[in-house]
Symmetry: C2
Subunit: 360 residues, 2 copies
Amino acid sequence: MMNNSNINHLQGPVCSLPLHHNDQIVIGHGSGGQMTNDLIKNVFYQKFSNPILDMNNDAALIDLLLDNDKKGFLVTAIDAHIVSPLFFSGGDIGRLAICGTVNDVAMLGAKPLYITASFIIEEGFSINALEKIASSMQLACQEANVKIVAGDTKVTEKGKSDGLFISTTGIGWVPASRQIGGQFARPGDAVIISGTLGDHGIAVLEARGDLGFHSAIQSDVAPLNEMIEILLTEVPNTHVLRDPTRGGLATSLVEIAYQSEVTIQIDETSLPIRPTVQTACEMLGFDPLYIGNEGKVIVILPEADVDNALEALRSHPYGKAAVRIGSVVQNSPGRVLLTTPLGSNRILEMLAGEILPRIC
Amino acid sequence: MMNNSNINHLQGPVCSLPLHHNDQIVIGHGSGGQMTNDLIKNVFYQKFSNPILDMNNDAALIDLLLDNDKKGFLVTAIDAHIVSPLFFSGGDIGRLAICGTVNDVAMLGAKPLYITASFIIEEGFSINALEKIASSMQLACQEANVKIVAGDTKVTEKGKSDGLFISTTGIGWVPASRQIGGQFARPGDAVIISGTLGDHGIAVLEARGDLGFHSAIQSDVAPLNEMIEILLTEVPNTHVLRDPTRGGLATSLVEIAYQSEVTIQIDETSLPIRPTVQTACEMLGFDPLYIGNEGKVIVILPEADVDNALEALRSHPYGKAAVRIGSVVQNSPGRVLLTTPLGSNRILEMLAGEILPRIC
């Protein structure tokens, strides 16, 4: 996942603009793109740097050093969820809060096990809505086979927050034999996406009434750990997993290209985008490659494993539309090229500011 | 710690008022007292119940089942921090976010190791303030000897949050030989408090300008894990540790009395309260027993260990004013009695609603 919003992602060769002390937070700082990257790098990363944080992946890998037989790592990740509105077609903030964090943990090949959740609630918020959201979390936990093991609840005065914010930390376990991460893409690898792009962002826009027309688009928000386990059983040699959330496919690929110091070439005609999402993006002036997803994963693995990987992904309901979209090539490191239908190459950059605030 | 706001605390015999579906969140739901308890019990606990959550302590105890030699448990806890204002005498939201979670983990006798942190920032927030807060977190992490291993940053539009909210999850490890928890208080045990009561709540009130006069009170916000390690080395047979945060000493003691099914008797004359805090409470109509602390711990242990425990606590800067304040007695279970200077007994209840919103 792109998630350079995650402190784990803050290092690497992505260039960073200096912040000035008198600057203020602007909406773009929450975009998950370059500005978020700059903010985190300049403010948090500088202060918090340590070997675990510096590993620069979606979740933190913690060696418990407990045992030589069952050698492995604890994996943890945190996400704050501020989506507006709280309910949208295909999901709500509760499902999002569980799936987002479960997926972050699963992106290192780990089995997500436990969740901690904190709730910041605005005075006046409906208890009924809170119960619906808690039920939705419960269902998502059952589906992902994780347990919420600790929580905390705080309330602000009316007007000092916006309904409900939920932060979740995920804790999981990965055997030491699995080596998966954004730094492992190699020239010769293939790039796969597990399904259609942009569904989540457009579904949230529609729920806001910002679409201007009615679409049948549902958010793809889903826990991907079961599908990923099937994939990794079939293709243990998978190199990279990342869920393209805030910032979309393009931003995630740029991140991986920087982490692995490779060029990634994507074939535009291969990208799976629903016609309604494409239409909505054209009307609103958005590029679907930068729209956030909440139930998709980028898979990068050796060319020889592509067929097995596609079969594994397509065997699961969340991977039915899995397709190969490109390759890892050598030339200039840290670059993503989009090959258009006419055969020309367009350089994809990381999302610069914010185009869709508060979609997660 | 009282922390019935923590989902871990939601069970037990404390009676609970039913919530109605059309109810709204009110400030009292964030109090950490009875209303928070009711809310969490009726909304979250019903949905999320599982054996780890049901253990009903400040942090979740996770058996990794990894090893027979080094048998122990992963411990995790989460806290959302919404203190207003962000800076106060003796600390800020950053120090609070680290110490609150470190202390929750330490209350099970665990060694806190790792922190995940999420930031919800209001558009327009000062980067300079954010840097100060990050520095404060860094210092608190150094003092507590913990590492921030993952993070996430989100930004809301101006007016949709209030400056900065920080959620932190702590992860630690406790050897299986340590059995410490709110359920282990036994008749014949002594009750100790590690220092003065109410300093944090009154310091935040003063920073808000709500005190009406100037006091020199500083918040006690501090990581207690080092002091607790000294205590547990001296007195391995410690039964209960709890930090009396939201809801104050009285609410924490009521919680422990319910969890252990005992009566706790406290001697009012023994309670360490600074004269300025006492004066402020009298002027404002507050009872210092219900004011939140962020650097104090209630210790319950066998009578025979009292002297060793006090010596151990007083050997550390954060425990200089440690003092014995009462005993665990048998009679009616789930009751806390305050013996006044005149010798009469007053029953202490859990904090009912909210008296000091947003002190943590």
